[in-house]
């Protein structure tokens, strides 16, 4: 215990200094992070407050719907936290120099495990808090919570709610490493897909969206039947239900019900954490050894066999690229596939997208000629696609130049110019991005039964957004390049990464806004004969052109010149 306290004390000191060092660079970084944090928090608070206030205004069904929205949000957070803890454990509990160092010290392995579990939970949870805290705070605001209600909610409700998925995620990762199943991409992708499939099933069971049709919203008999259906399929043994029920009890100040649900959360947390400690005592070190000692020789043999046999029968799918760019592309793809933390996070994002598409497929949306709804849904989907693309760009494109890391000398001293490197990175990212984005847009538009015009418009919008977001992320990635950091997650969450995230989201919001207004007015003109001037389309086109010129060319120009001026390789 004394040793654990010592490890944690020095780790906290080390982390605190990373944040609060009194140096200009750190102060700037802290300032940008704070500003971004406050903006994100305020934006999320405003959004949730708006939705919840609207729902609370609906007589009779408002509070039921509000509780359902919160419960579903908590279920989504719960599943996301399990996944996030599972994936991040790859680079905290296992593939980490710090873990190896701690394990070499004269202290029980359990102390190392607990110290790294704390890190893992922190890394996995902080982003979730940016969504959960504003949601719960706005819920409290709508229900006029007093200070003790907030205190109860955050200390006795939220903390156990975050720790339960942390123990489940890390527990799964311990088992996977122990069973030596966590060493190949397929062995991590399959459990992830299984988990997401489970989450989807739970979500669909709890939400049952087929029983609710948008055109039937006004029919209260159907709505009542939908709501009673919801009640019947609630999972009483899920932590998100305990938290939601606790929230409801807190709202009506039913202390007995509140106690029951908070007690369920607390005891489950303690039980699971105790189980995790027991499990870690038995298998953590063995799993860690397995992760270190996996047979790379067998892989090397497989690779050599493939090379000798003329893999792909001598066909090179990248034959059309210049040799130096081809070498760069092949190297980047191989490194991506061989870095578990990279493809694991990419897989999560992909399965979330599939989840989103499955959900859309489950919603029997027919607009019945209501142009307003078609426009709203189309652009909500367009904005969602943009949000996903912005996330992908910041997480995967932004770090790509920094990831050359300590090996930048090999490029800096090679005949491949930095200009070529920069355009190579941009080109690879853009092509992959565009393919993904257009598939996503096409599938989601098909599931929303959008008209041909809307499909074409969003297709064009997505093309421009792919170009704009890739340019922003590549350019900013070069401006804020950090060649001493090896962890892409940390590069993406640096002050440069945060600034890129804000710029990207701002760009997506502007794009949606610029395109949505004239399209909406035009559809209204078609349906109800409202005045519509072609000048509006012209004005929007000019604005969109200007925005994209700035978003595409400025970061690329600044990024390239910044990279070429660098002398610290």
């Amino acid at each position: 215990m004394k040793e654990l306290a010592l490890i944690l004390r020095y780790k906290i000191q080390n982390s605190r200094r990373g944040f609060f060092a009194p140096r200009l660079e750190n102060i700037l970084r802290l300032g940008v992070n704070l500003l971004v944090g406050i903006l994100l928090f305020a934006g999320a608070y405003w959004f949730f407050h708006y939705i919840l206030t609207y729902l609370s205004g609906l007589h009779e069904i408002g509070s039921l719907l509000m509780d359902k929205v919160v419960s579903l949000a908590m279920l989504t957070f719960f599943m996301m936290l399990i996944l996030s803890n599972l994936v991040i454990s790859l680079s905290t509990l296992f593939k980490s120099k710090q873990t190896e160092f701690l394990l070499s010290l004269p202290t029980e392995h359990l102390n190392t495990f607990i110290a790294r579990f704390v890190d893992n939970s922190t890394y996995s949870t902080w982003a979730f808090l940016f969504l959960a805290l504003p949601l719960l705070a706005s819920y409290g605001e709508v229900h006029e919570f007093r200070w003790w209600q907030y205190l109860t909610l955050f200390s006795l409700g939220l903390i156990p709610f975050v720790l339960i998925p942390a123990t489940l995620g890390v527990g799964s990762s311990l088992l996977l490493f122990y069973l030596r199943r966590f060493t190949r991409p397929i062995n991590i992708i399959l459990p992830l897909v299984a988990l997401v499939a489970l989450a989807t099933w739970l979500y669909l069971q709890a939400n049952n969206p087929r029983s609710l049709s948008l055109s039937s919203l006004e029919d209260f008999r159907i709505l009542n039947s939908y709501l009673s259906n919801l009640k019947a399929v609630s999972f009483s043994y899920m932590p998100h239900v305990w938290l939601s029920e606790g929230l409801k009890a807190l709202t009506v100040r039913d202390l007995q019900k509140l106690f029951v649900h908070l007690f369920a959360l607390a005891t489950t947390t303690i039980f699971l954490f105790r189980m995790l400690l027991l499990l870690s005592e038995k298998i953590y070190f063995k799993g860690w050894l397995a992760s270190e000692e996996r047979s790379s020789s067998r892989k090397a043999e497989r690779r050599a066999r493939r090379r000798k046999a003329g893999f792909w029968l001598g066909f090179d799918p990248l034959w059309w690229l210049p040799p130096d760019t081809r070498a760069l592309v092949v190297k980047d793809l191989k490194l991506f596939v061989r870095e578990p933390s990279q493809w694991a996070q990419f897989t999560i994002l992909l399965v979330l997208l599939v989840l989103y598409l499955v959900n859309l497929g489950q919603l029997p949306l027919t607009f019945g000629g209501q142009q307003l709804w078609e426009t709203v849904i189309t652009f909500a989907n367009f904005a969602f696609c943009g949000f996903i693309l912005a996330t992908l760009a910041v997480r995967f494109v932004f770090p790509s130049i920094s990831m050359e890391g300590a090996n930048i000398w090999s490029i800096g001293s090679s005949p491949l110019s930095l200009r070529r490197l920069f355009w190579g990175k941009f080109g690879i990212s853009f092509v992959i991005f565009l393919i993904l984005a257009e598939i996503l847009a096409y599938c989601s538009n098909r599931m929303l039964y959008l008209s041909g015009l809307m499909m074409a418009l969003t297709g064009l919008g997505i093309f421009l957004m792919s170009l704009g977001l890739t340019s922003l992320a590549t350019g900013c990635g070069a401006i804020f390049a950090n060649f001493s950091e090896r962890n892409p997650g940390k590069i993406a969450s640096s002050s440069g990464g945060m600034l890129t995230a804000v710029l990207s989201l701002f760009y997506v919001a502007l794009m949606v806004f610029i395109v949505a207004i004239p399209v909406h007015r035009y559809t209204l003109h078609l349906s109800s004969g409202l005045d519509f001037s072609p000048l509006e389309v012209f004005r929007a086109s000019i604005m969109m052109l200007a925005l994209n010129l700035v978003a595409i060319f400025l970061p690329l120009k600044l990024g390239l010149s910044s990279l070429e001026k660098r002398s610290d390789f």
Binding site: E3, L6, I7, Y10, K11, Q13, N14, S15, R16, R17, G18, A21, K97, Q98, E100, F101, L103, S104, L105, P106, T107, E108, L289, E292, E293, R294, S295, S296, S297, R298
Partner: protein
Amino acid sequence: MIAVRNLTKKFGEKVAVDHLDLEIARGEFFGFLGPNGAGKTTTIRMLVGLSRPTQGEIEIAGIDLKKEPVRAKLKVGHVPDNPYLYDKLSAREFLNFIGGLHRMERRQIEREADFLLDYFEMTSWCDQRAEGYSHGMRQKTVVAAALLHNPEVIIIDEPLTGLDPHSGRLLKNILKERTKSGTTVFVSTHILGIAEELSDRIGILSAGKLIACGTAPELMGMAVAQGENLEGLFLRLTRQQSPDSVLST
């Protein structure tokens, strides 16, 4: 002080360390030589408990490493080939941390840290954060951390990595000095000169097997008998062609 019996490590089909037997006495300086990929680092990782043998036993100061890893580690000071430092901690804070984990008294940590930081000429840097250290300064910090608790066994993988000749000499001197007071030093290196200069005994590892072990004069005797120097003997034993003959072919 270090007893290794029938130590074997396999990675899948590949045998990295093959039935290694070693007895290293108290106060002995043992040089562990071998070409790249011979299994030196794997052996060291097993000696410090970072890898579990497929077969065999390790005893450190009479303690079975498998049965009592924490007690055994308390006796060891370890410098890995690629050490880890908390970047935001200073050298002094890092030593305080390591001393605490080795259950040293605060005053004892301060005294030893003062001595070692001064000895390695780190005093003017010791309160600055490690993120600003050069490769050599990081190595000196890690070496100081390994020596801090006056371990009975010091295990070092490539001791001179990043050190300038003066710092290298300081390190060699303190290691030799420690052996006089009974500390066992186990040094893995590629550099024949270090092994020849400092070691009481030298072990040569090739393809996971200990193919020669003896004092420097004994090995030199073997070399001279074949009309070679120590380098020639090393190359012959490890079945590596002399770089000169590779060039001439």
